[in-house]
C-alpha cells in the first residue's frame, strides 16, 4: 500500500511538472540574485544562513500544494482504501525525498556560484549529510503542517505562519552543522548536530503519525 501511495505522489508530481519547474526556477533565481549582490561571501556563517533561507523557502513552496493538488474526492477515496497513518507516512517520505533533492540542487548551485572563499576547508560529506538530514526533517515536519493548513480551509499563506515556529529548532541545528562542516571540523566534532537533527526528524515523524488521524477527517 505504501508503495502505491508513493507511486501516486510521484505520478501526481510528474503530471504537474510546472509546479516542480517553478520551484527549480525559484532556487536558480534566488542563488543568482545572491551572486549578483554579493559575489564573494566572506563569512562562513553568512553562507550557511543564505543556504538555509533559500532551503527553507524551497521547502515551503514544495509543501504548498502537497494536499491541495488532490481534489476532495481523492481524499475520500483514499479513506476507503487505507489508514490515515499510511497516508501521512507516504506523504512524509515523499516530501522528505523531494525537499532533499531540491536542496541538494540548491547546494550545488551555491557551491557553483558562491563557493569562492568559504569552501577552502569544507568537508563535503558532512555538508551533504547536513543538507540531506535537514531537508528530510523540514519535509517531514512541513508535510504535517501543510495538512493542517489545508484543513483550515486552504489558507495558502498559513503554512509558513504555522510551519516556521515548528522548524526553528531544526534550522538552528542546521545552520550550526553547516558552519561546522564549512569550518572543516572532524566528523566526531560535528556528530552531536547530526544526532540532534536525526532525533528532531524522528520526533516530528512520530508526532505526525500519532496526530494525523485526528486531523484527517472532518
Amino acid at each position: 500500500m505504501l508503495q502505491a501511495l508513493l507511486k501516486k505522489e510521484l505520478m501526481l508530481e510528474l503530471r504537474q511538472k510546472h509546479a516542480l519547474a517553478g520551484i527549480v526556477i525559484y532556487i536558480l533565481s534566488t542563488v543568482f540574485v545572491c551572486y549578483l549582490s554579493i559575489q564573494v561571501v566572506e563569512q562562513i556563517k553568512v553562507w550557511g544562513a543564505l543556504l538555509w533561507i533559500t532551503g527553507l523557502f524551497t521547502a515551503f513552496s514544495a509543501m504548498q500544494k502537497t494536499f491541495s493538488n488532490e481534489g476532495k474526492g481523492v481524499h475520500i477515496y483514499l479513506h476507503t482504501l487505507t489508514s490515515p497513518r499510511k497516508i501521512i507516512l507516504a506523504k512524509s517520505i515523499y516530501n522528505a525525498a523531494l525537499v532533499a533533492l531540491l536542496n541538494v540542487f540548491c547546494l550545488l548551485l551555491f557551491v557553483l556560484f558562491l563557493g569562492k572563499g568559504v569552501l577552502d576547508k569544507v568537508s563535503y560529506p558532512q555538508l551533504f549529510l547536513a543538507v540531506i538530514l535537514g531537508s528530510a526533517g523540514l519535509g517531514t515536519a512541513l508535510s504535517f503542517m501543510a495538512g493542517m493548513a489545508f484543513r483550515t480551509g486552504n489558507n495558502t499563506g498559513l503554512i509558513s505562519v504555522i510551519g516556521f515556529p515548528i522548524v526553528i529548532p531544526q534550522l538552528i541545528t542546521l545552520v550550526k552543522a553547516t558552519s561546522l562542516a564549512l569550518g572543516g571540523v572532524s566528523f566526531v566534532e560535528n556528530s552531536l548536530q547530526f544526532v540532534i537533527l536525526c532525533s528532531l526528524l524522528l520526533a516530528s515523524l512520530v508526532l505526525a503519525l500519532i496526530l494525523f488521524p485526528y486531523l484527517w477527517r472532518d
Partner: protein, 363 residues
C-alpha cells in the same frame, strides 16, 4: 469558573510579601573594586571600595590584606573617608608565591570581603611556598552579617530581579502545561476509531463539553503568552545591566522567543479557522506541537550549547552557589504567588470567554 477566595488572598499575600521583601532587603556587604592596576615590590597605596559596608563605624577592627597563593600580607589603614572607602598602604616583598592576587578587607560587622581583579604584577619574581612578610587574618568574625541578599559581582542589586524574571517562566510553564492538558482532553473526547475522527453531532452536551475544554486550553495559552512576554521583558532589562546588552545570543533567549512565536502562530491558527469544532481539533493538535517545541527549546537545547544562564551550558545552577537561604525565603513564595496570579487571570479570562460564547449562542 470561579476562583477560591482563599487562593486569591494567598496570591495577594504572597505577592505583597515578595514585593516588600524583594525591594527592601539590603544586599550583604561586599567588596566592589580596588583603584589600582599595577602593584610593585615595596610600598603600594590603593583605595578599597566596598558596598553596604561599615568601614567608618568599624574603624577599630578594620584590617586590609593582600593574599597571594596561601600567603597573606597585611596592610596599614591610612585613612577611612566614609563607610565604603578605605585607603591602605601595603609593603610587599620582591618575591610572591603566586601569580594571582586577591584583596581582602575584614571587620567585625561586615566579615571578610574580597576583591579579585586582574592586576599587572610584571615586576615581581614568583617562587612557590615563599612566605616572607606574611601575617595572619582574623577570620573568626564572619557570623555577624545580618539578613540580606547575597552580594554577587556583576549582578549587584540586579539579583532582586530573580523574584520577577524567573517566576514568569515558571508561571508560563504551568499555564502552557495546563493548556496542553486541556488540548489533549479535547482531542481525546473526539471519537477515534482510527479512521473516523469527528465530533458526534447528535450529542450536543458532549460537544459542548469539548468546546469548553477548547476554550480553557486557548485561555491558558493566551495568559501564558502574556507571561512569556513579561519574562522576555524582565530578562531583557536584566541582560542589559548584567551582560551589557538588551539581547544576547543565548540559546535560552532565542528559545524563549521561538516559543513566543510558536504560541502566537497557535493563536493565528485559531483565528483563521471559523468552524468552532474544527478549530478545537486543529488548535489542540497544534498545541501539542508548540508544547513539544517549548520542551525542546527551553529544556533540552540549552543544555547542548553554551549558555550564560545559571544551570545551563556548564554554568552552576543557582542552588549550588548563591540561591542561599535569604533568596530562597523570597524566591519560593514568589514562584507560588506568580503562578496563583497567572491562574487568577486565566480564571477571569475563561469566565469572559464562556459568557461571550453564551451570548453568541443566544443570538
Amino acid at each position: 469558573m470561579m476562583m477560591n477566595n482563599w487562593l486569591k488572598l494567598a496570591c495577594i499575600g504572597l505577592l505583597g510579601y515578595v514585593l516588600v521583601f524583594s525591594l527592601y532587603v539590603p544586599l550583604v556587604p561586599g567588596g566592589l573594586h580596588v583603584d589600582t592596576e599595577k602593584i610593585r615590590p615595596g610600598v603600594n597605596e590603593f583605595v578599597f571600595t566596598g558596598y553596604n559596608t561599615h568601614f567608618l563605624s568599624e574603624r577599630k577592627s578594620l584590617q586590609v590584606l593582600i593574599m597571594s597563593g596561601n600567603t597573606t600580607y597585611c596592610g596599614e589603614v591610612v585613612s577611612v573617608s566614609d563607610n565604603a572607602h578605605v585607603s591602605t598602604r601595603v609593603v610587599l616583598p620582591d618575591t610572591l608565591p603566586s601569580t594571582t592576587i586577591t584583596f581582602f578587607v575584614n571587620n567585625d560587622v561586615d566579615g571578610t570581603l574580597s576583591v579579585f581583579s586582574a592586576i599587572d604584577m610584571s615586576s615581581f619574581v614568583f617562587a612557590e611556598g615563599y612566605k616572607k612578610g606574611s601575617c595572619e587574618m582574623a577570620v573568626s568574625n564572619n557570623e555577624h552579617i545580618g539578613f540580606g541578599f547575597p552580594f554577587q559581582h556583576k549582578l549587584y542589586e540586579g539579583i532582586r530581579n530573580l523574584m520577577f524574571h524567573v517566576p514568569m517562566w515558571f508561571t508560563m510553564f504551568f499555564l502552557m502545561i495546563m493548556s496542553f492538558a486541556y488540548g489533549m482532553k479535547c482531542l481525546r473526547g473526539t471519537k477515534n476509531n482510527n479512521v473516523v475522527v469527528q465530533f458526534d453531532n447528535t450529542d450536543i452536551s458532549h460537544n459542548e463539553k469539548l468546546l469548553r475544554f477548547d476554550r480553557k486550553s486557548a485561555d491558558y495559552a493566551k495568559v501564558g503568552l502574556v507571561f512569556c512576554m513579561l519574562g522576555l521583558i524582565t530578562g531583557s532589562i536584566w541582560a542589559r545591566f548584567t551582560w551589557g546588552d538588551w539581547w544576547t545570543s543565548d540559546p535560552q533567549l532565542n528559545g524563549a522567543l521561538a516559543v513566543f512565536i510558536a504560541y502566537s502562530a497557535y493563536l493565528i491558527l485559531r483565528s483563521s479557522t471559523l468552524d468552532p469544532e474544527k478549530r478545537a481539533r486543529l488548535s489542540a493538535i497544534y498545541n501539542i506541537f508548540a508544547f513539544v517545541m517549548m520542551v525542546i527549546l527551553l529544556m533540552i537545547m540549552p543544555r547542548f550549547y553554551d549558555s550564560m544562564h545559571p544551570g545551563k551550558g556548564g554554568n552552576p545552577a543557582f542552588n549550588s552557589y548563591d540561591l542561599d537561604s535569604s533568596l530562597r525565603a523570597v524566591f519560593y513564595p514568589a514562584v507560588i504567588g506568580w503562578i496563583l496570579l497567572g491562574y487568577w487571570i486565566y480564571a477571569l479570562k475563561n469566565r469572559i470567554s464562556n459568557l461571550t460564547h453564551k451570548c453568541h449562542e443566544q443570538l
